[in-house]
C-alpha cells in the first residue's frame, strides 16, 4: 500500500497543505513547530480515524475553525481517494468518511484497506514507560489490525465507567461484572493470540510478556476488595505488557541500546503481523526519530527500512541525512 498524496484543510496548524509522497523512504524536514508531527498525525488518522496520540478530535482543529478534512490518495491494488471530514457543531460533532466520494457507513470498514503504523516520540521509549502507556500502545495496534477488538474494547471501557461509578454509589458490582465478563475474556484471548504471534516473529532475544489480571481468577474473586476500595482493580484495563531482553525485564535491566533494538524488533514484528493478518503492506511513519538515535544507528535504521520494501515517512528538523531518501518534503 502506498500513500501518494495528502491534503489537509484546517488540520493542526495547516489551513491548506498538500504533500506528495514517493515509494520507499520519504523525509519531511522542517523546524520545530512547523507541523511535522501534524503530518504524521494525519497519516495515522487516515487509517485509525482518530488520533494515535490520544488527542481529542476537536483539539486537532486549526485554531478558530469548525471543520477539518484529511484527503489521501492511496494506491493498493487500485487507486482510491479517502476523505475524512470532522465537524464540530455546538455540543455535537460529526465525522464522515468517504472512499472515492462514497460515504462509508462504518468507519472501521477502512481498516481493511490501509494500515499506517505511526510512531511518535513517546513510543520510542515504550519499553521503559508506564504499564498504562504500553497497554495503550498494544490496544492501539490491535485495534488497528482488528476492528472487532476495537469494538469489544470500546464497549468494555464504557461498561467499566458504569462499574466504577457504581462502586462509589449503588454498589451493584455483580451486575456490572456480569456485563464486563464476555468482553474481558474476548480481550484477553485476542491479546494472548497477537502477543504469541508477535513473539513467534521477533527474534528470541526479545520477548513480550502479557500478564492478565484475570489469569486463573474471576471478577468475583475481587468483588469484596473492589467494594472496599471503591474502584476496580482487575480486568483488561489493568493487564500488563512487559518486554524481556535475553530473559531479563528490559525495563529494569536492558541498556538504552538494547531497548532501542527491542523497539525496532517490535516494529518489524508489527509490520510482519500486519502483512500476515491483513494481507497488506503497512505504511510506516516515524516522528522525530533521529533525535533518539546516534549517527551509526541512523545509518542502520535507514538500511533496515530500505530492506523492508515499504513506504516510510520520517520527520526531521535538519537536512543531515536527506541524501539517503527518495523524496524530500520541506516545510517551513
Amino acid at each position: 500500500m502506498l500513500i501518494k498524496k495528502l491534503n489537509l484543510i484546517n488540520f493542526g496548524k495547516f489551513s491548506n497543505f498538500t504533500a506528495e509522497f514517493a515509494e520507499g523512504l520519504n523525509i519531511i524536514v522542517g523546524k520545530n513547530g512547523s507541523g511535522k508531527t501534524t503530518i504524521v498525525e494525519a497519516l495515522a488518522y487516515i487509517s485509525f480515524q482518530r488520533s494515535f496520540r490520544h488527542v481529542k478530535d476537536e483539539d486537532l482543529l486549526r485554531f478558530g475553525e469548525k471543520e477539518f478534512s484529511i484527503t489521501a490518495n492511496i494506491s493498493n491494488l487500485t487507486e482510491h481517494e479517502i476523505k475524512i471530514i470532522y465537524r464540530k457543531e455546538n455540543d455535537k460533532s460529526v465525522k464522515r468518511v468517504y472512499v472515492d466520494n462514497k460515504r462509508q457507513k462504518l468507519i472501521t470498514k477502512l481498516h481493511k484497506e490501509i494500515i499506517v503504523l505511526a510512531f511518535h516520540n513517546y513510543n520510542y521509549s515504550i519499553i521503559e514507560q508506564s504499564p498504562a502507556s504500553r497497554r495503550y500502545f498494544f490496544d492501539w495496534f490491535f485495534s488497528l489490525i482488528d476492528e472487532e477488538y476495537y469494538i469489544n474494547l470500546h464497549r468494555y471501557k464504557k461498561i467499566l465507567i458504569q462499574k466504577n461509578k457504581s462502586l462509589k454509589t449503588s454498589k451493584d458490582i455483580k451486575l456490572w461484572n456480569s456485563q464486563l465478563k464476555p468482553y474481558a475474556s474476548y480481550i484477553n484471548d485476542i491479546r494472548k493470540k497477537y502477543i504469541n504471534e508477535l513473539n513467534s516473529i521477533i527474534p528470541d532475544e526479545v520477548k513480550i510478556k502479557y500478564t492478565s489480571t484475570l489469569e486463573n481468577k474471576t471478577f468475583e474473586d475481587f468483588e469484596e476488595i473492589e467494594l472496599k476500595r471503591g474502584f476496580s482493580i482487575v480486568g483488561p484495563h489493568r493487564d500488563m505488557f512487559d518486554f524481556y531482553y535475553r530473559g531479563k525485564n528490559a525495563r529494569l535491566y536492558a541498556s538504552d541500546g538494547e531497548r532501542r533494538k527491542a523497539f525496532f524488533e517490535l516494529v518489524n514484528g508489527m509490520v510482519k503481523l500486519v502483512e500476515k493478518t491483513k494481507n497488506v503492506k503497512p505504511v510506516l511513519a516515524f516522528d522525530e526519530l533521529f533525535g533518539v538515535l546516534d549517527k551509526d544507528n541512523i545509518k542502520k535504521f535507514i538500511k533496515k527500512m530500505t530492506e523492508l520494501d515499504l513506504q516510510v515517512v520520517i520527520t526531521a528538523h535538519s537536512k543531515d541525512y536527506v541524501e539517503e531518501f527518495m523524496n524530500i518534503i520541506e516545510i517551513s
Binding site: 472501521t108 476492528e147 472487532e148 469494538i151 461498561i159 451486575l175 456485563q179
Partner: protein
C-alpha cells in the same frame, strides 16, 4: 438588582427537567414571562396533566387507575418489558403484539444516578404471579445500560420458571451485511429464526 422570587423558582423547577441546564432554564423562564399566550397554554396543559397518573399495573401514562391495555381482557398472558411509555406506544402501533406491557421507566445507569430501585422492576414479579403470566419478553435497547438492565431483570424473575425471552437483535433493515459490525452479525446468526414467508 434582584430577580423576583417567583421567577427564580420557575428557573429552579425547569432545571429539574432532564436535558435542561441553567442557560436553557433562564431563557425558557424569560420567554414564559414575556409571552402571555405561552403562559396560558402551559397552565392549561399542566392542569390537564394533573389528572394523569401512571397505570398501577404497567406504569404507563394513563387517565385511569388501570390503563386501557391492562384492562383489556383479550390480551395474551405475556408481558413485554419496555423502557418507556413511548416504546410501548411504538410497539402497540405495529399491531403485531397482543400481550401486555411493563414500563420500567428508564435504564440502570450509575453514571446518571439511576439505580434499580429508581425503576419499576420490583412489582414485575408480583404481576407474573398474580396475572398468571407465561412469558416475559425483554425489549430494551441494545446499549450497555439496556443489556445490564435486561440482565438485572432476568436475575430477578428467573426463579418464576416462566419463559424469559428477548427481542432478536439482528441486522437493521436496509443495512448491508458487509457494513454490519461483526458482533451484530454474530448475534444475528446465533439468534437466527425460521424463515418467514409472508
Amino acid at each position: 438588582m434582584k430577580f423576583p422570587k417567583g421567577f427564580l423558582r420557575l428557573i429552579e423547577v425547569l432545571k429539574k427537567l432532564p436535558g435542561i441546564g441553567e442557560k436553557t432554564a433562564e431563557k425558557s423562564a424569560f420567554v414564559i414571562v414575556k409571552n402571555g399566550r405561552i403562559l396560558d397554554e402551559l397552565i392549561t396543559a399542566l392542569n390537564e396533566i394533573k389528572k394523569l397518573k401512571l397505570c398501577s399495573k404497567c406504569n404507563t401514562i394513563s387517565e385511569r387507575e388501570v390503563c386501557e391495555v391492562c384492562s383489556d381482557l383479550q390480551r395474551e398472558k405475556i408481558i413485554m418489558v419496555v423502557e418507556s411509555p413511548y416504546d410501548m406506544y411504538h410497539i402497540e402501533k405495529l399491531g403485531v403484539y397482543n400481550g401486555k406491557y411493563h414500563v420500567i421507566g428508564g435504564l440502570i445507569s450509575p453514571l446518571e444516578g439511576i439505580e434499580p430501585k429508581d425503576l419499576f422492576i420490583d412489582n414485575l414479579k408480583n404481576r407474573i404471579l398474580e396475572e398468571d403470566i407465561k412469558e416475559v419478553i425483554i425489549a430494551l435497547s441494545s446499549s450497555i445500560e439496556g443489556d445490564a438492565t435486561g440482565y438485572y431483570i432476568y436475575e430477578k424473575i428467573k426463579d418464576t420458571n416462566i419463559n424469559i425471552t428477548q427481542i432478536a437483535r439482528g441486522i437493521p433493515t436496509g443495512y448491508e451485511i458487509t457494513y454490519t459490525d461483526n458482533i451484530t452479525l454474530q448475534k444475528a446468526i446465533i439468534l437466527r429464526q425460521p424463515f418467514i414467508t409472508n
